[in-house]
């Protein structure tokens, strides 16, 4: 499969007399294959928006390599710009223009046919409100307009930064459906979002960034599987047998967590082993269920941003790849 977007060793450093040197991007890598919906995740301040801005020529990198559709950036950006639709951060438009005017001016600047404006307005559900001034729009409507502006070029690569921000539940579902349809039509979509449930639902693959470095990447199922750690929930017919079962399994080298009415086992390659070990001791299993991890828990673990009671995490407190004792370096993924 060919790569539509490639980033290797991207670096962006900010120097400030007050705050010293800060590496917004510290050798970041990313690869997005053609026709995928690719999730781009990271905590606040991790470098997501810096990456997208750098990719789109708004920020000059200090090092590294970027390419879109096989064209090296930023040198060839003017060549590929017509095939890349993007919204970066919150949508911003001139408040006194209508949506139709806004898109019409962009279409004219891009030498696109006027009817394309109506097509994208229809697509994002703004057809009936297109003549109203943008300043009267809700955040969700502005978001729809932003997506419409990104779709105007009918791009081969669509980059959307928080497209679901401000959308109502119906709008989020419509956005999800739109992303899927676009990908099915051959468009590659890079989606940056904090709504991890959405990402898990609609993305084929993900890249997770923390403190300017990639901490995980790959197909969603692969990333989830790599972090499921073989966790299995076990219930027995008699709750009173749980201590004995825990002892048996621990002796067999399985990590056991004891809960009031069940056990949580980790590091289990084959659940059948558990069943066999317990049966040999006359303990009969009533439930043996692999515990599925979701993207949110994987994200929180990888970026070390899970809330801790009594602590107030600061924005730059997350995982840096390569530091001792941090997650994200094992399991065949991560930098």
């Amino acid at each position: 499969m060919s790569a539509v977007l490639e980033i290797e060793g991207l670096r962006k450093t900010y120097r400030s007399r007050k705050r010293g040197v800060r590496h917004a991007l510290d050798g970041f890598d990313m690869r997005v294959e053609a026709g995928q919906v690719h999730g781009f995740l990271g905590p606040n301040g991790s470098g997501k928006t810096t990456t997208l801005r750098t990719l789109l020529g708004l920020i000059k990198p200090n090092g590294g390599r970027m390419a879109i559709l096989g064209q090296e950036l930023p040198h060839s950006l003017p060549v590929v710009a017509g095939q890349v639709g993007a919204i970066v951060e919150s949508p911003q438009f001139f408040p006194h223009f209508s949506a139709r005017d806004t898109l019409g001016l962009l279409a004219q600047a891009g030498e696109l046919p006027r009817q394309r404006v109506d097509e994208v307005l229809e697509l994002v559900g703004l057809r009936d409100r297109a003549g109203e001034r943008v300043k009267t729009y809700s955040l969700g409507m502005k978001q729809r307009l932003a997506v419409a502006s990104a779709l105007l070029k009918n791009p081969r690569l669509l980059i959307l930064d928080e497209p679901a921000n401000g959308l109502d539940p119906g709008g989020i579902r419509e956005m999800r459906s739109l992303m899927r349809d676009l990908a099915a039509a051959g468009m590659t979509v890079v989606l940056s979002s904090h709504i991890l449930g959405e990402i898990q639902l609609i993305c084929d693959s993900v890249t997770i960034i923390s403190l300017g470095r990639r901490v995980a990447f790959g197909p969603v199922e692969q990333v989830l599987a790599a972090h499921s750690q073989g966790t299995v929930r076990v219930r027995l017919e008699a709750v009173t047998d749980l201590p004995k079962a825990a002892d048996t399994l621990t002796r067999a080298g399985i990590r056991v967590g004891t809960e009031p009415d069940h056990l949580l086992l980790t590091g289990v390659d084959k659940p059948a082993t558990v069943s066999r070990l317990l049966a040999e001791q006359g303990l009969y299993v009533s439930e043996l269920t692999p515990v599925a991890v979701d993207l949110e828990s994987v994200f929180l673990e990888l970026t070390a941003t899970a809330p801790v009671p009594g602590q107030h995490r600061q924005v730059d407190q997350s995982t840096k790849v390569g530091e001792p004792g941090t997650a994200g370096t094992g399991g065949g993924w991560g930098a």
Binding site: L56, L58, A81, F94, L105, Q108
Partner: protein, 337 residues
């Protein structure tokens, strides 16, 4: 080309541009209309009436003089001293002469196109410069502050070309508005001159001089628009241009005047921008150094320093070029975040 047309369309779609254009037209029309009422055509009847008033004044003055001389003679005959009160020879030497009573004093004001239209070119340029400054600054500044510039750069990732195109759109719009309104302004004052004033002596040379004055005014207006747009781009906000203009005005017109006054600098006004603006419109502007005179010794002609329009061209040209170069340099260098 499509970007240029788009930007031109965007400029005239803006509410501020339309509002300011309407205000500019109303302002110019107001000035021309008010002025047309203050000018009166000097018809033969008006001239004759003024002549009659001058003659009457002459006759009255002669009568008063004759009476005064007669009073003086009578006083002298009574043996009184008259010289102190009536002057030598009873003031006979001060007999009124007809040429002392100019009929012009009784004429109403009449606009003279050849002699005065230059002042109205300056008025026109001042109003247009204000329009150009606000439109130029807000067109670029508001685009930055509302994210329009970033959106545009996502479509056209050529920073210098985008800024240059926006600048070209502003300048060509201001140029177009200036030419159209300038032609109407000239026509309005030509009509005022024709029907309520004078258009005499408008030779081809006079028209040429008027055209050159208009050209200089236009150049200043375009420079103001360019500087406003460039300043707004430097600060990425309209307020940057407005703040810089106010700051420059305060520093140049008040601060520098006070400083050079305290320091006793000769021809201190040569460091003040408005001096160069005056020289630009008037072709030259004379500064006088009254400190070079000792009036106790009698009459004195103070030393002079002549500021020419070429000096103004140098000051304004270099200033405009510096701001533009800074704006393009920063546009190329700075991150857009």
């Amino acid at each position: 080309m499509s970007l240029y047309v788009t930007e031109l369309r965007r400029l005239f779609k803006r509410r501020l541009t339309r509002l300011l254009l309407v205000l500019l037209v109303l302002g110019l029309a107001g000035v021309a209309t008010a002025f047309s009422y203050s000018s009166h055509k000097l018809s033969p009847a008006v001239v004759a009436e003024a002549q009659a008033k001058a003659d009457a004044d002459y006759r009255q003055a002669t009568k008063d003089w004759e009476r005064t001389v007669a009073e003086c003679d009578a006083a002298a005959a009574r043996g009184e001293k008259t010289e102190e009160r009536y002057g030598p020879d009873c003031g006979r030497q001060w007999q009124p002469q007809p040429e002392m009573f100019d009929p012009k004093w009784h004429l109403p004001y009449q606009f003279d196109f050849r002699g005065e239209f230059g002042n109205f070119i300056a008025v026109f340029a001042g109003m247009l410069a204000l329009f150009a400054f606000i439109v130029g600054a807000s067109f670029v500044g508001a685009e930055w502050s509302t994210g329009g510039m970033m959106n545009l750069l996502l479509w056209r990732p050529k920073r210098l070309a985008v800024l240059a195109t926006k600048l070209a759109a502003v300048l060509s719009a201001v140029l177009g508005v200036s030419i159209v309104l300038g032609a109407l302004w000239t026509l309005a004052f030509w009509l005022i001159g024709t029907y309520r004033g004078s258009t005499a002596k408008m030779t081809s040379g006079a028209w040429q001089s008027t055209a050159i004055s208009g050209g200089r005014a236009l150049a200043l207006v375009l420079a103001v628009a360019a500087v406003a747009a460039a300043l707004a781009s430097l600060g990425r906000h309209t307020a940057m241009a407005l703040g810089a203009a106010v700051g420059l005005g305060v520093i140049s017109e008040i601060g520098i005047r006070i400083a050079v006054g305290l320091a006793g600098v000769r021809f201190g006004d040569r460091y003040v921008l408005s001096t160069y603006a005056m020289a630009w419109f008037e072709k030259q502007w004379k500064l006088l150094d009254y400190k070079s005179c000792d009036f106790a010794q009698g009459q004195c002609n103070p030393k002079e320093l002549l500021i020419t329009w070429q000096d103004s061209a140098l000051v304004f040209g270099v200033g405009t070029a510096l701001v533009l170069v800074a704006a393009f340099w920063l546009m190329r260098r700075r991150d857009i975040s």
